[in-house]
Symmetry: C2
Subunit: 177 residues, 2 copies
């Protein structure tokens, strides 16, 4: 029983990173005996095996920063986590900074073709605004790689949540056996 407590399913991995290929490869690479093993596998899969379409798919699973997660999230777990990750941004936002962020999100998406992605935990709205303005000047391919690195930071935090939640309450989507 003890050793099977770290068996996660595709839905668990999808809540960490919204690429189907990523989730499938994590299932194939698992089960993992601890968080570090899972993280090592996740990094290898994300940077070496998921193709550029998979990166775009994972980016598309995120809400626009400053928006309510419920509109774009397919995974309820991911929606809840996203809300937590943006809590500092939300408490430091004013109506005018939120409006500015909204406008820059639109400009960003217009230039790059995907949502602005940032590891938001602990970051205030003014900090996030400064980042989007700075990154907006990047070449599309450069920004694409930066977004993939931000996605990996988000995935890393979510994996740790998955493992700590599992240590106390078991996986939410584990099939009985």
């Amino acid at each position: 029983m003890e050793s099977s407590s770290m068996v996660f399913g595709e839905k668990d991995w999808l809540a960490c990173c919204g690429s189907v290929k990523f989730a499938e490869e994590m299932v194939a690479a698992g089960p993992f005996s601890n968080y570090q093993e899972a993280l090592d596998a996740a990094k290898d899969i994300w940077f070496n095996k998921v193709d550029v379409n998979g990166w775009l798919e994972a980016f598309a699973a995120h809400p626009q920063i400053g928006d309510s997660p419920s509109q774009s999230h397919k995974s309820p777990t991911s929606a809840q986590w996203s809300k937590g990750e943006q809590s500092t941004a939300i408490t430091t936002a004013t109506e005018s900074t939120l409006q500015e962020l909204y406008e820059w999100n639109a400009r960003y998406r217009q230039k790059f073709g995907f949502v602005f992605l940032i590891f938001a935990s602990g970051r205030s709205t003014p900090e996030i605004l400064a980042e989007i303005k700075r990154r907006y000047h990047n070449r599309p391919i450069v920004e694409f790689e930066i977004a993939a690195e931000e996605q990996m930071k988000i995935t890393e935090l979510r994996l740790s949540k998955l493992f700590s939640a599992n240590a106390t309450a078991g996986s939410t989507t584990k099939t009985p056996h």
Copy 2:
């Protein structure tokens, strides 16, 4: 009349590079007084303005190397050029090397999610086979950038054809004025 002979339309640029954004930006940046001006604009647009979705769109406009262009080409001009670019490959191919190329194309597409792209002019089928096998080991993002550079080489050759064809016979898709 003389100065208008270098006015090309969206279809001309699309035959050089199958990204709609690329073609639109070339129209907006033109008209160009010579080939070099057009090439400089094309490089700037392709590497700095076309987003990753536009790169994928341009890649998708190419036939699989070794295949007949007529199956995937939307542009008749592009289909004809593609055939010319692959003429060395075609004359140096045997049934077995073509079969091997076909299999590697499938493996490549399976890993990277887009067609194997190579500046094929003057390259034999054995050379192309060696390249696809070598590049297959790359990380997806690395290969994505290499493919974009190969696309630019193809675009460069096609731009030169467009300008030399225009110098003798005028643009094929130019609207009368």
